[in-house]
């Protein structure tokens, strides 16, 4: 084992993981950052997405030991970098838009959806609906039928998700 240094949600941390320790296990079991969900554990569903150096990655399919020096953002730390949320809200602009547009039901897929959307908006600030649908190909939701998720991301992109009492449901 070798000591590695990660930055998780802007805090540095030293770890000494066994070779087969998955990032999702480090996050959930060791650091108790349980906002990242484990859905399929087979790289199919996208519930476990986190940002590694700004790129979305399935945390069920990378080993912690590969990541020395990496900066990781989980859903718990997203608001701090997606900071168009209202006032002192703990939510970022995408999370706020999901709330306003009813972009979640059970919430199991939501942190992955929001992480994925944050990467899209960082590179494509004004995506079309088709671009959003294509982008979310790796994120499975069993509840919403996707419509309100798309609406929420569109709203976050245009800024219309952050106003007072925004329109809900499309």
């Amino acid at each position: 084992m070798t000591v590695i240094r990660l930055t998780i949600n802007q805090k540095p941390i030293d770890l000494d993981p066994p070779g087969n320790r998955l990032l999702i296990e480090t996050l959930r079991d060791e650091l108790h950052l349980t906002g990242t969900h484990s859905g399929c554990d087979t790289s199919q569903c996208g519930a476990c997405l986190v940002l590694i150096d700004g790129q979305s990655v399935k945390s069920c399919s990378v080993f912690t030991g590969e990541l020395d020096g990496a900066a990781i953002t989980t859903i718990e730390g997203l608001a701090a970098i997606d900071n168009f949320g209202e006032g002192d809200s703990p939510l970022g602009r995408i999370q706020t838009a999901f709330q306003q547009y009813h972009g979640l039901q059970c919430g199991f897929c939501t942190s992955g959806m929001v992480i994925s959307a944050s990467e899209l908006l960082a590179t494509t600030p004004h995506p079309t609906e088709a671009e959003i649908r294509h982008w979310l190909e790796g994120n499975i939701c069993r509840c919403t039928g996707y419509q309100n998720i798309i609406a929420a991301i569109m709203a976050a992109a245009t800024g219309s998700g952050t106003g007072e009492g925004g329109e809900s449901h499309v």
């Binding site: 070779g19 087969n20 087979t42 990655v57 399919s61 080993f63 190909e137 790796g138």
Partner: protein, 272 residues
């Protein structure tokens, strides 16, 4: 998963030496290997991560060839300005593999070394007549890919042999047409068509179920006359395709013809 250790060498020589010392396995993007490990289909003892090896992540151009490092992610290939200019169809193909998170991790070398019978890169490389470079040798794609998950490396049995780069001729009249499996996103059938020098055409199919292969009859007809109509009187034998839970051999054979025609039309219409 079984227990194993993990190392992250920063140059090729160290990676190869660590493989030879440990008898372990190379880890690239992990998008195929990690699920395999979870199923306990492999017990490598040690993994050698290739991600920190800068020499595996370069793109260069010389003498009409692009050389792409094996460690480039699908995302990096899709976004490379050089690839977009010289082999636009390849950039588009890489940008449509899996989903964004798969493209952020999965690599060219991992896909080529794995030679999944439904993977996209092997078809593109075979149709282009690309060359696979390893730490030991350089082979044409026709010799490298040898069937279901089989390559010149797996057949040779030297587990320290490592794909380091792919050399691709910059042939612009090339296209890839993919019919996706609606759930997995992998190719149910994918066909790459390349019209090379002196109008010689190469056609390669992935998703047949038996490993990437060239479609020689189609090649001959298209080399004579490059038009979708040249395929009209030809049909592929279902014996060359597998039946499985996704679909029948007959349907795969029909799809392979339709995708070939589609790729030919893309080239004729200048969408390449």
């Amino acid at each position: 998963m079984y227990e194993f250790s993990l190392s992250t060498p920063t140059n090729l020589a160290d990676a190869v030496a660590q493989q030879q010392d440990s008898g372990g396995k190379y880890l690239a993007g992990g998008q195929t290997l990690v699920p395999t490990l979870k199923l306990r289909l492999a017990d490598p003892g040690h993994l050698i991560s290739l991600r920190r090896i800068a020499e595996l992540r370069t793109v260069s151009e010389a003498d009409g060839f692009l050389t792409l490092g094996a460690g480039l992610t699908h995302h990096e290939v899709a976004r490379s300005v050089l690839v977009q200019h010289r082999l636009p169809f390849l950039a588009r193909m890489a940008g449509a593999i899996g989903d964004p998170a798969v493209r952020n991790r999965g690599t060219l070398g991992g896909s080529v070394a794995n030679n999944d019978p439904s993977a996209d890169y092997p078809a593109a490389l075979l149709a282009l007549g690309a060359r696979v470079v390893t730490n030991r040798r350089e082979l044409p794609a026709d010799e490298f890919f040898q069937g279901l998950f089989a390559t010149a490396i797996t057949e040779d049995g030297d587990e320290s042999e490592l794909v380091t780069a792919i050399r691709l001729p910059c042939l612009r009249r090339a296209a890839y047409a993919k019919f996706k499996h609606p759930a997995s996103g992998f190719a149910l059938i994918g066909v790459a068509v390349v019209q090379g020098d002196e109008d010689q055409v190469r056609v390669a199919v992935t998703g047949s179920g038996f490993g990437v292969a060239r479609l020689r009859e189609f090649e001959a007809a298209l080399s004579q006359r490059f038009a979708a109509e040249s395929l009209a009187s030809l049909s592929l034998s279902p014996d060359e395709f597998a039946s499985d839970s996704a679909t029948s051999a007959d349907y795969r054979a029909a799809l392979a013809k339709a995708m070939t025609a589609d790729a030919v039309r893309q080239i004729i219409q200048g969408f390449f």
